[in-house]
Amino acid sequence: MIRFDGVSKVYPGGAVAVDNLGLTIPTGQITVLVGPSGCGKTTSLRMINRMVKPTSGTITVDGQDIARIRASKLRRGMGYVLQDAGLFPHRTVLDNIGTVPRLLGWKRARIQERARELLERVGLEDDLADRYPNQLSGGQRQRVGVARALAADPPVLLMDEPFSAVDPVVRDQLQSDLLALQADLSKTIVLVTHDIDEALRLGDQVAVLRRGGHLAQVGSPAELLAHPADDFVADFLGRDRGYRSLAFAGMPRLTLHAERTVTLGEPLPAGGPPWVLVLDAGRPQGWVRTEEVHRPGRRVLVDDLERGGNVARLDSTPREVLDAALSSPAGRGVIIDDQGEFVGTVVASELLALLELERGQR
């Protein structure tokens, strides 16, 4: 557990970066510090490993005042991931990952072994081991940055805007991979971002900071979305707060509807509803419009498919299920099971009615 107790940082000249911050960061969870630029989130993060010295207040890690621990020792016990990775350009991928073990004086063979293990762990191929950072893509560099932070297996991981320098598709992938990694490792992670979506997605706990280094609110994503403490937090969470909160709501018991389906490559039977779902080996491929496709003996081809509808899974959140329904050309959201096979469809209005009902019962 990391505790901020009345921590302030005032720079010479009077600029207040962090103002009397009190915050508890629970062990084994992801805590996200989020806020606009100038809110002191990075300064707060950097105070945890003594890169920035607080003007007043104390920070403790598992009850121990960090001011009493030698800075280099403290830092070697905390992984650190920077924006744009901050890799050493003159060292290969493997040597970058082995940095902290080398500082800790591990044997060469053990460092090599550990670095290769981590390379695989963060989803990079072995043949990248001897590349230099400038030979990697942005996403690959960021993965190496995470591997380097994890090398000595520190209990704490500090991440300073780790995914802000990569494009949205790569960012999405890196975020899911971090969550998967965290499910295995249960590190105490403190992550700084200015992106509220990232904060809500990654954080078990989210601390919203406002300009001047004030803590505006701290809570779980669901709490923040349901009960923002003030206008600043509500504004920061954004306009579609209600819709977004569905990502954290419990899923009501839905009635799944059966659907007329046709297998790809087979002819479409006569009659039937205006939209028919096309399957291939049980997996949904897209919808076809009956009136466009139906001619006696004509087979349904890939070109006939209307794609673009998202699918949701049986264990998806209400947000994903609702999105599947709203994005479907047929107006019915396709639900699949763990194997990716079609199990039924849902209608948006029914899901909304159920959510409404639940809200009434609370």
Partner: protein, 224 residues
């Protein structure tokens, strides 16, 4: 050409002396410039003072320095040490700024990554900042090396033998072949220094070459 063929062993001996008189101060001067350049980088107020002061040293005429040093050092006037010390001063003068700027060229993100991962200052300097400063350092060393090779020839006027002797002697006795040999030998020597330093720089910076060879990031391998 005939003059050179008749005297080539003499020219080689002079060139060897010339090389030592230029290279030794280059090495010593570089080692002295390292801490000074580091200090200029470390303390903001030190930078203008150190860079200006060292720059001024370079403006002292070499002949004056050669003649003055025996008085300061207590050496004999013909002692080659005078030349070595004088050349070292010139090297420091050129390299303090180079070292400061080379260290300044290390990306801030890389430096703070090193701090965040738990490097202490001396090791960070030796294994992160210095290696990354090599390209700029080499550029500065090449200038200093060529400058040394050229200035050393003046030492003939105070009787320290090296390739400059060919110039003074060739001029005094009006031997055109000797003069031209002297000039060309200095040029070749300067070129040798330059190529050596350039090669050394390449050897120490393998990561710069892959960047130039590939030009764009490799996207092969795992997605993202």
């Amino acid at each position: 050409m005939t003059w050179f063929l008749d005297h080539w062993d003499e020219v080689i001996t002079l060139a060897r002396q010339h090389a030592v008189l230029a290279a030794l101060p280059l090495a010593v001067g570089f080692l002295l410039a390292l801490p000074l350049g580091w200090a200029a980088r470390r303390w903001r107020t030190a930078y203008p003072i150190l860079v200006t002061a060292s720059g001024l040293l370079y403006t002292i005429p070499s002949l004056a320095l050669f003649v003055l040093l025996p008085l300061v050092l207590g050496t004999r006037i013909l002692d080659p040490l005078n030349v070595v010390v004088a050349m070292t001063i010139y090297t420091v003068a050129l390299l303090v700024r180079t070292v400061a700027d080379a260290l300044g060229a290390v990306p801030e993100g890389v430096r703070s990554a090193a701090v965040a991962l738990g490097y202490r200052a001396p090791r960070r300097f030796m294994t992160v900042e210095l290696p990354l400063a090599v390209p700029v350092l080499v550029a500065g060393l090449r200038v200093a090396a060529v400058s040394n090779v050229s200035i050393v020839s003046v030492a003939s006027l105070i009787g320290v033998t090296q390739l400059g002797d060919l110039l003074t002697d060739g001029y005094n006795r009006a031997i055109g072949g000797e003069l031209i040999t002297g000039i060309l030998a200095c040029l070749v020597l300067a070129l040798l220094f330059d190529v050596t330093l350039q090669g050394l720089g390449r050897l120490l910076t393998p990561w710069v070459r892959v960047e130039q060879a590939r030009g764009r990031p490799v996207t092969k391998g795992a997605a993202a």
